[in-house]
C-alpha cells in the first residue's frame, strides 16, 4: 500500500507543504522532501527562508501556517527541494525588549541551531561578503556515510596517550609535504596518520572543529598591520556542523564526508578522536555582537542574563550559554549524541566545563543536571568525557568536578606541580609523589581512578614545551594587546638566557629539560597528553596565547622532523615505552603495599639512598620503583621499573633497590646521557647493579628483568 503521509497537504506559491514532525529538531530528509523543525519559547511567528546556494537574496519565504506549530515548535515538510543547492534560515517574530531578555527582529535571518552543514565560510580565510545579510547559512546534509564495520574504539582510558592538535596548524605549513590543496585540512591530517603512528599516540584531541568564524573579531595589529584572526576557534557558530574551512572539500560542501573519512581512517590505525567542544558561550558575543542564530531565536532561553537583561560573562567571551536551562541542556545532549553516533567520535573535552555546572543565574550547582545527564546518557555511555575543570568566572574544580564516575579532568595541578619541580623549586617532592601516581590526593577519596587525571605539562593555552624551557616571561606583543593577554603564572625557566641563544651549555640544558618533561609525563600514572609539536621542540617565540595567528607562529614546521630528529626519537621512544609497560597504566590507584605476594609493594619510594626517599623541604630528587608483578593490579606481566628523577643542579649517586633473585637492572632511558635511550627489549645490563650516577637535572629509567 502506498504511504499517504508523504504527500503534500498545503501549497505556498510553487512550494508544496505538509505539517512536519517536531522531532528531531533541525532538518531531516524525508521521502520527497525535507522536514524542518525549529523551536522558540517566546516567538510569536516563524517564517522559513529559502536560498539558492551562494545567492544573497532569498528565493522564497514561507510562513509557517498556524496549524504547523506544536507547542513551541514550528515544523513543516517542504517537498521537491534540491538537497545540494538549497540553503535555509528563519525569521522569528516576537517582542524586542532587551531588559526582559527578548531580541526578536524580523529583519534578521537566523541560522538553524541544529544545522549539520553551515555555509558562508567555505574556504578558510577567504574574505566574506560583509554585505550579505545572512552570513552563516544552514544547509542540508546526508547521513549515509559508508562506515563499513567502524565504530568508536573504546580504548581503556588508562591506556590512552592523547595528542592535542589544531586541524589547520598541523599541516598548513608548506613543509608538511601534504598536497597543496589538502594543507591545513582534515584530508591533511589523514595524510599524516603514518607520522602519528610512528610517534605512538593512540588518540588525537582536535581543538574546536564545530563551525566557527575565523573572522570573528578579526583586526589588524596596531603596529605591524598583520591580520589577527579567531584562529583557535573557541567560539562556536553552530554545534552540529564541522568547520567547512577545515575541509579540502569545504568549497563543495562535503566537509561532513571528509571528517567522517578521517575518523574512519584514524580508527583503522588504532587512533581515537576526541573533540574539544565549546558549550560555554557562542560566537554571538555580548550586546554589541551579531545576530547569528540563538539571540534572535530565543535569547532568554539560550543565554544567562542579568536581571537588567545584560549577558553574564563567565566565559570571558561576552556571553554565557544557559546550559542548565532544560531546553539548552537538551541541545547540548542532542549535539554530543549526534557526534558520537553520526561521526563515531570517541570522546569530548569540554572547554571551561565548570560553567556547565552553574545554574541560570551563575551559581555553582551541587548536582548539575547537564553534567549528570551527560554522564548517564546511553549513547554517550562509552565516550570519554573530559572536563577543563575551571572557568573564567573564578570556579576552579580540579579534584572536585561533579564526576558521577564518568568525568575525567584536565589536571591543572599536575601541570603546575611538574613545572615547578622541573625548574628546580624546593619543597615539591611530596607533591611529585602524588602527581606521579595519578594524583590520588585529588581523586582516590572520591573513588575516581588514575585515568581521571589527564596529565599534561603543556597545552594549546600557554607555552609550548620548547618555550617553557626557553622563556621566563611571556612575549605576546604579536597579539596586539601590549603583552597584557595570556597567563603570567607560567612556572617556566629559560635555563640561563631569555629566548634564542647560541650558548651551547644553555641549549644542551634545554634539550635535557624537554626530555625530562616528556619522560616524567610518560612515566606518570593517569593519561598523558602531548601538545602538537612538542615532540619536535616547536617554539612560539615565547608567545603563550597564540589564539589569533594564522601564520608560522602556529603552523607546525615539519622541517623540525629533520633538525630535531633526536628529540622526536626520544619522545616516540618514551611513548612506546609506556605502551610496552602496563605497570605505567594502572586502572586503579596504587596502594603502596604488596597485595600479590611478590615481596615488593606495587610502588616503593627511594632517593639517593634506596628505600629512603628524601621528603624534606630542600630535596630535589626522587626515585620510585614499580613492581612488575603488580602491573594492572596483578593481572598483567611486566618488568620491574625504576625511575630516578634528579632535578638538583648537582649530579648525584642513586643507590638502587635490589631485585628478586635472578633479575638484573637494565638501562632504558637516561636524559643525561648522549645516548638517551635504548630500543625496547635491547636495554643493556647495568654495571654496577648497586647504583648509578644520575646527572644534574636528568631522569633515568631502568628495567628489571
Amino acid at each position: 500500500m502506498d504511504r499517504i503521509d508523504i504527500h503534500p497537504t498545503h501549497t505556498f506559491g510553487d512550494y508544496k507543504l505538509r505539517c512536519g514532525r517536531p522531532l528531531p529538531f533541525g532538518t531531516t530528509l524525508v521521502p520527497g522532501g525535507v522536514n524542518f523543525s525549529i523551536y522558540s519559547s517566546y516567538a510569536t511567528d516563524c517564517t522559513l527562508v529559502l536560498f539558492q546556494k551562494h545567492q544573497k537574496e532569498p528565493v522564497a519565504e514561507i510562513p509557517f501556517p498556524d496549524e504547523f506549530r506544536i507547542g513551541d515548535v514550528w515544523t513543516m515538510t517542504v517537498f521537491n527541494l534540491d538537497y545540494e543547492t538549497v540553503e535555509y534560515g528563519y525569521r522569528m517574530d516576537g517582542p524586542l525588549d532587551i531588559q526582559a531578555g527578548h531580541w526578536f527582529n524580523t529583519d534578521k535571518i537566523l541560522m538553524d541551531p541544529y544545522a549539520k552543514i553551515i555555509g558562508g565560510r567555505d574556504i578558510w580565510g577567504e574574505e566574506p561578503d560583509w554585505s550579505d545579510p545572512y552570513q552563516h547559512r544552514s544547509r542540508l546534509s546526508f547521513d549515509d556515510f559508508d562506515w563499513e564495520s567502524d565504530r568508536p574504539l573504546e580504548v581503556p582510558p588508562e591506556d590512552q596517550i592523547i595528542y592535542e592538535m589544531h586541524v589547520r596548524g598541523f599541516t598548513r605549513h608548506p613543509s608538511s609535504e601534504v598536497k597543496e590543496n589538502h594543507r591545513g585540512t582534515f584530508a591533511g591530517i589523514r595524510a599524516k596518520i603514518p607520522y602519528l603512528k610512528e610517534l605512538g599516540v593512540n588518540a588525537i584531541e582536535l581543538m574546536p572543529v564545530f563551525e566557527f568564524d575565523e573572522f570573528e573579531n578579526s583586526r589588524r595589529h596596531p603596529e605591524t598591520g598583520d591580520l589577527l584572526m579567531n584562529y583557535w576557534g573557541y567560539s562556536t557558530v553552530g554545534f552540529f556542523a564541522p568547520k567547512a574551512g577545515y575541509a579540502a572539500t569545504g568549497k563543495f560542501g562535503m566537509q561532513v564526508d571528509e571528517l567522517k573519512s578521517l575518523v574512519k581512517e584514524l580508527h583503522k590505525n588504532g587512533i581515537e578522536v576526541i573533540l574539544d567542544v565549546v558549550f560555554n558561550h557562542t560566537a554571538e558575543g555580548n550586546e554589541n555582537g551579531p545576530y547569528i542564530s540563538y539571540r534572535g531565536l530565543d535569547n532568554k532561553t539560550y543565554y544567562m542574563l542579568t536581571p537588567e537583561g545584560y549577558y553574564f560573562n563567565f566565559s570571558g567571551c561576552g556571553n554565557t550559554l544557559n546550559c542548565n536551562n532544560p531546553v539548552v541542556r537538551n541541545l547540548v545532549l542532542d549535539c554530543l549524541r549526534f557526534w558520537a553516533a553520526e561521526y563515531h567520535i570517541d570522546g569530548f573535552r569540554f572547554d571551561l566545563a565548570s560553567i556547565l555546572g552553574r545554574d541560570p543565574w551563575g551559581a555553582p550547582l551541587a548536582n548539575p543536571p547537564l553534567l549528570e545527564a551527560l554522564a548517564f546518557d546511553p549513547i554517550l555511555a562509552r565516550c570519554k568525557l573530559i572536563a577543563e575543570a575551571w572557568d573564567a568566572g573564578g570556579l576552579y574544580q580540579v579534584g572536585s568536578f561533579p564526576a558521577y564516575g564518568r568525568w575525567a579532568e584536565w589536571n591543572g595541578k599536575y601541570r603546575d606541580g611538574i613545572r615547578k619541580f622541573l625548574k628546580g623549586d624546593a619543597g615539591r617532592v611530596g607533591d611529585m609523589a602524588q602527581r606521579l601516581q595519578g594524583s590520588p590526593d585529588l581523586y582516590a577519596w572520591a573513588g575516581r581512578g588514575p585515568a581521571t587525571s589527564i596529565n599534561f605539562i603543556t597545552a594549546h593555552d600557554g607555552f609550548t614545551l620548547a618555550d617553557l624551557v626557553s622563556y621566563n616571561d611571556k612575549h605576546n606583543a604579536a597579539n596586539g594587546e601590549y603583552n597584557n593577554d595570556g597567563g603570567n603564572d607560567n612556572d617556566s625557566w629559560n635555563c640561563g638566557a631569555e629566548g634564542w641563544t647560541d650558548d651551547p651549555g644553555i641549549n644542551a640544558l634545554r634539550q635535557r629539560q624537554m626530555r625530562n618533561a616528556i619522560a616524567i609525563l610518560m612515566l606518570s600514572q593517569g593519561v598523558p597528553m602531548l601538545l602538537m609539536g612538542d615532540e619536535l621542540g616547536r617554539s612560539q617565540n615565547g608567545n603563550n596565547n597564540t589564539y589569533c595567528h594564522d601564520n608560522e607562529l602556529n603552523w607546525l614546521d615539519w622541517n623540525l622532523v629533520e633538525t630535531n630528529q633526536d628529540l622526536f626519537k626520544f619522545v616516540s621512544h618514551c611513548i612506546h615505552f609506556r605502551r610496552a609497560h602496563p605497570a605505567l597504566r594502572s586502572r586503579y590507584h596504587l596502594q603502596n603495599r604488596d597485595y600479590v605476594g611478590s615481596g615488593y609493594a606495587d610502588i616503593t619510594w627511594h632517593g639517593t639512598q634506596a628505600w629512603n626517599a628524601d621528603w624534606s623541604e630542600g630535596s630535589r630528587a626522587l626515585a620510585f620503583m614499580l613492581c612488575g608483578k603488580h602491573a594492572k593490579s596483578g593481572t598483567a606481566e611486566d618488568d620491574y621499573l625504576y625511575v630516578a628523577i634528579n632535578m638538583h643542579w648537582q649530579t648525584q649517586w642513586f643507590e638502587l633497590p635490589g631485585l628478586p633473585t635472578g633479575m638484573q637492572w637494565h638501562s632504558a632511558i637516561n636524559t643525561g646521557a648522549d645516548l638517551d635511550h635504548f630500543d625496547l627489549g635491547k636495554e643493556p645490563v647495568l654495571d654496577p647493579q648497586q647504583g648509578l650516577l644520575v646527572r644534574d637535572r636528568s631522569v633515568v629509567v631502568l628495567v628489571g628483568r
Binding site: N181, T249, S261
Partner: protein, 109 residues
C-alpha cells in the same frame, strides 16, 4: 553538461558508461542503472568514468548505494576518472567503496 549513463551486461560483467555532471538532479539516473545492473546479478560492475566531468555529493552516494546493494562479493571498478573526480573521491573517503583503475582491460582482467 548533461549527464548520461548507459549499461551493457556481458558475461556477468555490467559496464556502465558515465558522462557529464553527476549531481543531485542526475544521481537518480545513475541509480536506476545500478538497479538494472543489479538485476542481472553481475560478478563485477565497471564504471567507465573518463567522460565524467564532475561528481557531487549525491553522485558519490550512489557508489555507496551500489556497494551496499550488490554486497561485498561484487567488486565495483571505476575506470580512468578525471583528476577532479578522483580527488573528490579520495578526500571524502569514497575511494574505499570502489577499485580505481586506469583502463578497462584491468577492470575486466
Amino acid at each position: 553538461m548533461s549527464f548520461t549513463a548507459a549499461t551493457e551486461i556481458d558475461n556477468a560483467i555490467a559496464t556502465i558508461t558515465l558522462t557529464g555532471d553527476l549531481d543531485a538532479s542526475s544521481a537518480p539516473v545513475f541509480r536506476e542503472q545500478i538497479d538494472i545492473a543489479a538485476q542481472a546479478s553481475p560478478k563485477r560492475i565497471v564504471l567507465m568514468a573518463s567522460g565524467l566531468d564532475y561528481m557531487a555529493s549525491a553522485g558519490l552516494r550512489v557508489l555507496v548505494f551500489a556497494n551496499q546493494k550488490l554486497g561485498t562479493d561484487v567488486d565495483i571498478y571505476l575506470v580512468a576518472p578525471q583528476e577532479l573526480v578522483l580527488e573528490t573521491l579520495q578526500k571524502t573517503g569514497f575511494d574505499q567503496s570502489v577499485i580505481i583503475v586506469d583502463d578497462y582491460d584491468t577492470a575486466i582482467a
